[in-house]
């Protein structure tokens, strides 16, 4: 697999992972797992949003830690080969919810 991050996006991921100390421990692993899954299965790609973005892949996670549930979603915008393989990561975003 030959995927590259834009430097600003790599920094966004570093910053997000630093902020995840109290969030699901597996989250950093999920970020990379999801990108690998996206590379292997282009059907996971979510269609373009009104032609403004190239498209987005959004994935949600949840980890139960009684009495709370930690929920997180990560989103990526990527460039792909005609076959659907991921070659460049153009943006990354993450959101978290803590449910009591």
């Amino acid at each position: 697999m030959s995927i590259e991050f834009a430097p600003g996006v790599a920094q966004k991921i570093r910053d997000a992972i630093k902020a995840w100390n109290i969030l699901p421990k597996e989250l950093p692993f999920w970020v990379f797992d999801e990108l690998e899954k996206l590379d292997e299965d282009p059907s996971l790609w979510h269609p373009d949003v009104d032609g403004v973005f190239g498209g987005a892949y959004i994935h949600q996670f949840a980890e139960e830690r009684p009495p709370i549930v930690l929920k997180a979603s990560v989103a990526f915008d990527v460039e792909r080969t005609p076959e659907g393989h991921v070659v460049r990561i153009l943006d990354f975003a993450s959101r978290f919810i803590k449910e009591e």
């Binding site: 697999m1 030959s2 995927i3 991050f5 600003g8 950093p28 032609g51 403004v52 959004i58 943006d91």
Partner: protein
Amino acid sequence: MNRNAAFLEFILRRAGTGLGRTRLLKLAYMADLLAWRALGRPVSRFRYYFHKNGPFDPLFYEAVEDLCDHDRARCAGTTTASGHDCVFISHNPGLPEPTWEEFSPGDRHLVELVVRRYSRLRLQEFLQAVYETEPMKNVKRNEPLPMEDQRNKDRDRAGGISLETILESRAAFERGESVPFEHLKQELLGTPR
């Protein structure tokens, strides 16, 4: 020249050919709408309300006048094939292309997208698309269009992805700057699980 006038000139230059006044105004509205939805703010300073022919701001006329007064554009009255009188506006090709520094890469991207999508569409089809936009729904004539309600709607639907970051990333890749996947993975996760 004010921002609204520069915005109209940018649309005219990207369209390449002259545009009827109605189409130019509606292209401005569509670009502002996409900007609210993707960037969380408009490109121009127009404040649209529901006029008899759709989104309108009287400042539009001032901006066109400003363009013509500065010789950045030319206005000419004409009659359409269907017999309607209209004002046709075109940029001044004798002047060099401005740098457009007042507009962000996201602004420019969205204006170009709107021009590509709508500048050559038949006017009636284009106006129908304008009338079908969310701010035009449930609004009565002479009421302001609730553009602020569109803030970041596309960005939210895309999970928080930022158009400006995407454009910065593309520029970085063009400069040859990148971080390999495996390097970042190893940096952040250490040895494989």
